[in-house]
Symmetry: C2
Subunit: 418 residues, 2 copies
C-alpha cells in the first residue's frame, strides 16, 4: 500500500513558497497505514506534470496531487493529468454549479475566469470544495487512485478528510498496520540522545526509532508495524514507555504537544497563573501562551518592555540597575520577573532580557546570543544565563529564549506538582 | 542548466517535519539562473536513495541532496550515494580531522558514533561544515555534479554558499539568464488580482507572471529570461513597474519584505513611534514589530491585556465599557488604542480585540472571527471591524488581525508621508 504525493507550483520549484501540504498529507497517510514513498515537486509545466503523473500511476496505488487548480492561466495541473491519462477535458456541470453556488453565498458574481475550474478529464469525477472555488478531481486508472486537490492548505485538508479518507483509505485495507509516535525532548544534544537510544535505533529493527532536531527541540520518532492494529499498538507502546523511562524529564510531550501546551496544561491542573515581562523576545513569549484556546484561565497579562523607560515605568526597575548593570543582566532579569509578578498578581512571572542581534553585541562580556531568563514564584526569583552560539540567528535566539523560559516553568511546575 | 533537489529523511515522508531546505535551495539556484526541475523527497532508505540519485545523475547537471548525514544509525544517505555510483565508502582523514576539531572547540570528546560521518564514497571529496559534525560530500559523475549536505538548515545554507556556489554556479555559465521578482499585496482577492493582470499572465509570455495566495498575502511572481543579465533585468523591471502601477497601494513590498518591515521602514523614515495594546492577538503584534533588528528605535512598549482586569489597570478602560459592550467591541478597541497611546507616549497605538476561537463565540452578534482593530494618532482613533469566515483557524484569525492592524498603520503612514 504505497502513495506518491505530487505538489505543483512554480512558486515551489523557484523557492518562493515552502510546500507544507506534502508533510501534512504524509502525516495523515502514515497514520492510516499508507506508506508514502516519495514527494515530487514540480513547476506549472504541462509536460512535466504529465510525465510525473503517468509514471506515478504506473507503480503506486495512490497518487495525490496538490496545487495548480486555480483560475489563473498559470494553473495547468488539469491539463497535465488529462495528458497523462490520454483523455480530453470537459466542463462538469456539477463542478460549475458548485462554483456558482459558492460565489452566490459570497454575494458576488462569478468572474468568467473561474469557469475553467469546472473542467475535468473525461471519466473523472468532481471532489467538492466547500471552502473555495477550485473543485478537486478524482479518477481511477488500472489499480491506481488519483486525487487532485487545490494547493490552499485549508481547502486541501478539508477535501482530503471528506473525500480521500472515505473513498480510498477506508476502502483499501492493508495486510499490515503501522502506528507511529513522536516523543519531544528539550535540553540535550542529538548525539547524546542517540547514544542513550542506540540499541533501539538499530537499522531494520521493528519498531524503527529515529531522531530529528528542529529549533532546539529533539524528536524521537517510533514507527511500529504489526499484522494487525493490536500488535502495532502494543509494540509502539512498549517502545514509547522505554524511551520515556530512559530520558525522564528531558521528555516534555508527544505528538502535537508543544512546550507551551504542556506548560499550559500543568498551570491549569494546578490552578496557577502566569504573567510575562519581555525585552528581547518582544511579545513572542506572551504570544506562545495565548496561542492556546482558553489561555485566559492562566495567562493574566504580558508586558513588552522594550525601551528602558517602559521597564522602569511598568515594572519598577530602578534606573540605577539599568545604568550599573545594563538592561541585559542578571540583576535586571531578576527585577523584571519580581516586578511583573507583583504588578500582575500572578503565581509565576517569567522575564527575558538578552541580545538578539545582529547588532548591539559587546563582546566578550555581552556578545550577541547572551540571554537571561527570570522565573519568579512565591519563594523568590531564579535567573538562568544562556549563551547561544554565533550561528544562531536573531529569530533563533528569540525562539530558544522562549523555549528555555517555558522549560524553566515546566520543570518548576513538575517539581511543585509532586 | 537544470538541477534536482533530493531531500532525505523518514521525518519528511511521514510528515513529522516540513522540508524547508528545498525551497531555500530552489530560491538560490533560480537567482543564479539554474532551472530547478523538481524536488524529490525520500525516506531513510538506501535502495530508494540509490535509485533516485542514480536516475537524477543521468539527466541533470546538478544533484543537490540534503539530510541523512547525521551520526545516528537511521542516517543512510552516504550508503545510497555510494550504491548509486557503484563505489565503496572510505574514511576520509580530512573529514575526521574536521569533526575532531569541532568537538575540541566545543571542549568535548568526540563520541565514537560521530566517526561514521567521516566516511565518503571513493573518488568523492569533503565539503567542510564549520557549524556541525556532518561534513558534506562532493563528487562528479560524467557531466553531473553531486553535492550532499546535512539537513540542518543553518549548516546546509552555509555550506551551499561556501562550496556549491563557487564550485558549481560560478564554473558553469549559462547561455541565458533568469531574473525573478516577487511583489507582495494585501487587501484584494486572488481572482480580482488575476483579472487585473490577466494579459501579463498569458502562458508562454516572457516574463512569466503568476500569483499565489498565502495567509492573506497575495504574491505576484515575475520571472524574466534574457540572453544576458542586462536583458533579463530590463524585462523584469518593466513588468514589475507595470504590476505596481496597476495595483497601487495594494502592493506593500517586494522580495523578502514583510508587512512589519515595510511599516518599520515608514516609521523610521518619518521618525515616529508606536505602541501596542493586544487582547486577541496576545503578543503576536508586538512580536512582529520586535522581529526586526533595531526595532527599539520606533517600538516603545506593548501591553498584552488578556484579562479584563489588565485592560482596566494598564489602559484605563472603564469597567462599565467592558460590562456594557463586552471586551470585543468597537468601544473597547477605541479605548484600548487611546489608553495605550497616552500611557506609552507614542505617536501611534494599535489595539486588537476579537474572538479567535474556537470557543467563546456568541453568534449572531459576536461570532468567532469577529475582530476590532483600533489605530490611535494625534487626530483621534479609527476602529475597523473585520469578520473572518468560519474556515479560518484560531491561528489564522490572530495572524490576519495582526496583518490588518499593520496594514492600517501602513496606509496611515503613506497618507501622512505625502
Amino acid at each position: 500500500m504505497n502513495a506518491v504525493i505530487i505538489s505543483v507550483g512554480d512558486e515551489l520549484v523557484t523557492g518562493q513558497c515552502v510546500d507544507t501540504n506534502s508533510a501534512w498529507l504524509s502525516e495523515q497517510l502514515t497514520a492510516h497505514g499508507v506508506d508514502v514513498v516519495c514527494h515530487i515537486t514540480l513547476g506549472d509545466d504541462v509536460e512535466r506534470i504529465k510525465e510525473a503523473v503517468g509514471e506515478a500511476l504506473g507503480w503506486s496505488r495512490l497518487v495525490l496531487i496538490t496545487g495548480g487548480l486555480g483560475p489563473t492561466p498559470d494553473d495547468v495541473t488539469r491539463y497535465g493529468i488529462a495528458a497523462a491519462i490520454g483523455k480530453p477535458l470537459e466542463e462538469s456541470s456539477t463542478a460549475l454549479e458548485q462554483i456558482r453556488a459558492l460565489f452566490a453565498r459570497w454575494e458576488r458574481d462569478m468572474p468568467e475566469s473561474n469557469r475553467v475550474q469546472a473542467q475535468i478529464p473525461t471519466g473523472g469525477s468532481v471532489v467538492s470544495n466547500p471552502r473555495g472555488s477550485a473543485p478537486g478531481i478524482r479518477l481511477q486508472q488500472a489499480g491506481a487512485h488519483l486525487f487532485a486537490l487545490p494547493g490552499v492548505p485549508s481547502e486541501m485538508k478539508a477535501m482530503f478528510e471528506a473525500a480521500v479518507v472515505p473513498v480510498f483509505i477506508n476502502q483499501v485495507r492493508t495486510a499490515h498496520c503501522t502506528k507511529a509516535a513522536r516523543i519531544h525532548c528539550f535540553g540535550m544534544s542529538e548525539a547524546k540522545l542517540g547514544e542513550i537510544l542506540v540499541d533501539l535505533m538499530a537499522r531494520g529493527r521493528n519498531p524503527s526509532v529515529g531522531t530529528t532536531a528542529s529549533e532546539g527541540i529533539l524528536t524521537v520518532r517510533v514507527v511500529a508495524r504489526g499484522v494487525n492494529e493490536a500488535e502495532a499498538v502494543q509494540l509502539l507502546e512498549e517502545d514509547v514507555a522505554e524511551v520515556r523511562s530512559r530520558l525522564g524529564h528531558i521528555v516534555f510531550g508527544v505528538g502535537e504537544d508543544s512546550l507551551q501546551q504542556v506548560v499550559a496544561a500543568l498551570l491549569l491542573r494546578q490552578g496557577k497563573t502566569v504573567a510575562t515581562a519581555e525585552s528581547c523576545t518582544g511579545g513572542m513569549l506572551a504570544r506562545r501562551f495565548t496561542d492556546i484556546p482558553g489561555s485566559s484561565a492562566y495567562f493574566l497579562r504580558g508586558y513588552v518592555t522594550y525601551a528602558n523607560k517602559a521597564k522602569t515605568e511598568l515594572l519598577g526597575i530602578p534606573p540605577s540597575d539599568l545604568d550599573d548593570h545594563g538592561a541585559v543582566s542578571e540583576v535586571v532579569a531578576q527585577a523584571m520577573a519580581a516586578g511583573c509578578r507583583a504588578e500582575a498578581g500572578a503565581d509565576f512571572a517569567l522575564s527575558t532580557t538578552g541580545i538578539a542581534g545582529p547588532g548591539g553585541g559587546n563582546p566578550p562580556e555581552k556578545p550577541v546570543g547572551l540571554v537571561f531568563v527570570g522565573l519568579a514564584d512565591c519563594d523568590g526569583v531564579q535567573v538562568r544565563r544562556f549563551l547561544m552560539g554565533e550561528h544562531i540567528s536573531r529569530a533563533g535566539i528569540r525562539d530558544r529564549t522562549c523555549k528555555w523560559a517555558l522549560n524553566m516553568l515546566r520543570l518548576k511546575l513538575l517539581d511543585s506538582g509532586l
